[in-house]
């Protein structure tokens, strides 16, 4: 669970799992990892999930690129995870905060056109009284290419994967400017047979 003695590091992180619903899941995951440049983030993978940490721009760049490179196989692929900022940094990962801002995977990600559905929820910690004001600050109507709808416990976004990640990153950025510790859960799904009905 979150360590609250972590101070005010602005290191961002994402703990996520990539799920290819396919017998070829190992190849698809390893293939995506091979195509994505993760050199600007701290990264650790075990049998349950992968954690990347570093500057926010690179955490989103790497997460989006991994999903896109897995989804472009045409298999039903999903990714669930949690973005966090404000907690927890450490010497090992903080070194990655010195990387330059240019995202390494942006160009190749932009070449992949992929529709998806995504549900996300933002949790600004320790500021319940501010939540309504904060949600007003998130203006999803700016993201015109993404269809926004409400659902229980979450907001749903439908559209191109790059546009969805842009909306996620903008919402997360906007809230973390006001609240030191913020988490954002997301599940994004592509090529689901439920959508071909």
């Amino acid at each position: 669970m979150p360590d609250n003695s972590c101070g005010n590091s602005r290191i961002a992180g994402c703990q996520f799992t990539l799920y290819p619903m396919s017998d070829r899941f190992v190849d698809i995951i390893l293939g995506a990892l091979e195509e994505v440049d993760t050199s600007k983030v701290w990264k650790e993978t075990d049998d349950v999930s992968t954690c990347v940490r570093g500057k926010m721009v690179h955490v989103f760049d790497v997460s989006k690129a991994l999903f896109l490179h897995a989804a472009k196989t045409g298999e039903h692929v999903a990714m669930s995870g949690t973005f966090s900022i404000g907690c927890p940094g450490d010497t090992e990962a903080d070194a990655y905060m010195d990387e330059t801002d240019a995202p390494l995977n942006e160009q190749r990600s932009n070449e992949i056109s992929q529709e998806a559905g995504c549900k996300f929820a933002l949790y600004p910690m320790g500021r319940d009284d501010y939540m309504n004001a904060i949600y007003e600050q998130i203006d999803l109507s700016k993201h015109r290419k993404v269809k926004v709808s409400g659902t229980h416990y979450a907001t749903r976004l439908d559209g191109d994967v790059s546009d969805i990640f842009s909306a996620l990153q903008a919402s997360f950025t906007s809230v973390q400017e006001k609240v030191s510790h913020v988490t954002m859960t997301f599940t994004i799904s592509a090529n689901s047979p439920s959508n071909k009905a």
Copy 2:
């Protein structure tokens, strides 16, 4: 995102997705759904996730049973989701709060022996100053059959699926007694080939 005008309903909910890493993913998901009695929870499924709402005991009972019945196929199966309480109830789902407490799937779930690894994180909303005290209240050492370890942004539990869900439910129950709005993210994974190395 969470609706904060939801009052104080003690209805619990879980928004989750079941991920069989197999070409047979549709059959595995439908098969699990067929074997699990969901009549004591409100339930809605779309192409991204499933949401169940009702009394906490049934929300955990149904989530655990669905994971177990999918995992017992022997395929690599994972589930990611978020448990919530305190928000949001509505007339349609609140009707399920009148159900009796006896969990419908407990007996059959107990018959399935299945090892898994799980990462979870608890987010008590709007009470940052209380977080350390709350975490002290969660005594994971009570769950002696589960191996507990720390990881970035989460706590890891390893052991039998039923023991893991018991620890999750006890932690969640303990915190929601002190904080009106709590969420808990989790990812649980079984039969991963990474574990057979």
